[in-house]
């Protein structure tokens, strides 16, 4: 992965950059996400997210929300109504809870970043009832949230907190490969679900990577 050009405070403009970056990285990885979902699902995760974040881009062109939370709320509502798969309610809930955690703050500080990621993770767990090890996106969000919390407590900057989260999400996604799915469609496959990374965990890593890059955070 690369060092993003943009730097600066985690304000509404950062949130917009994050979402534009997500739309781009999802579009670039559309085929990958589809292939991952073909192996243990219904081959639509890349298509679902590309449609969803494509719709987000259109919304952002029209509207310019004034706080980070307002951006995330717009994203939540858009994903919810355009994704069509499990990722719709899951990411919808994640971004909605993240927005709520930020309140009307104009610039997100390091502990705000950690709180936002924890809220997103908790929202996904509340919505999907998966536990760590069930081979879902929870296996990327949980280490991401833990790493963000640790970094924030250790005095890292907001971009550094995001980078720690993104790296941990990436490692978490890779680590889903040997697992047997116990939630979502992939659970229909039983033991045959082992040997493939979970598509939602991989897309989670991409989304958090985009967040870090939009903040100028260095992602390993």
């Amino acid at each position: 992965m690369s060092v993003a050009d943009a730097t600066g405070p985690l304000d509404a403009a950062w949130a917009v950059r994050w979402m534009r970056g997500t739309a781009q990285v999802v579009s670039e990885n559309r085929a990958l996400l589809i292939d991952l979902d073909r192996a243990i699902g219904d081959a639509d995760h890349g298509e679902n997210l590309d449609r969803g974040f494509g719709a987000v881009l259109l919304k952002l062109d029209g509207d310019a929300p004034e706080t980070p939370a307002a951006v995330l709320k717009l994203v939540a509502m858009t994903l919810m109504s355009t994704v069509g798969g499990a990722a719709g309610p899951l990411y919808g809930t994640a971004f909605l809870r993240a927005a709520t955690s930020l309140g009307d703050t104009g610039v997100v500080d390091p502990s705000g970043v950690a709180g936002m990621i924890a809220a997103a993770r908790d929202g996904i767990v509340a919505r999907g009832k998966a536990e760590v090890g069930d081979k879902t996106m929870v296996d990327a969000w949980t280490p991401a949230s833990e790493a963000a919390e640790t970094a924030a407590q250790a005095g890292a900057t907001a971009p550094e907190v995001l980078a720690a989260a993104a790296n941990a999400a990436h490692a978490g996604a890779v680590a889903t490969e040997p697992l047997i799915a116990r939630k979502g469609r992939a659970s229909y496959l039983g033991e045959r679900s082992a040997g493939h990374q979970d598509p939602g965990a991989v897309s989670t890593a991409l989304i958090l990577q985009a967040a870090a890059e939009a903040a100028g955070g260095e992602v390993a």
Binding site: D44, G85, G88, P89, R127, G184
Partner: protein, 132 residues
Amino acid sequence: MSVGLVIVSHSRKIAEGVVELAAQMAPDVVLVAAGGADDGDGPSRIGTSFERVQAGIEQASDGDGVVILTDLGSAVMTAEMVLEFLEPEARDRVRLAEAALVEGAVAAAVQAQGGSSLDEVLRAAENAVVSI
């Protein structure tokens, strides 16, 4: 007016078919198909649609409450998400059944046709025997 049903399926055909099947035995019950993902015009993509489920609940809610039936887990999550956006009074009159979609819908529709309460209709869905 009786309890209404919303049939949430990833497939538009399944949702519409369940409605036509259940309607045979429950001509006076409001049965709403909320199937497929919403892509504006064109044939319905496989998936679920927040808006269709939301509109379905709205449409079914003139009677004694609404029971929602779903096919797969992502339909359940979509339905739960919609429920979170309802006002508390509206939310209280909606139940999400943990039931076999087709079999549960027929049993629930017959129960609703008989004028049963919201929780009786829910129970009929959840206790439906497969292949009666």
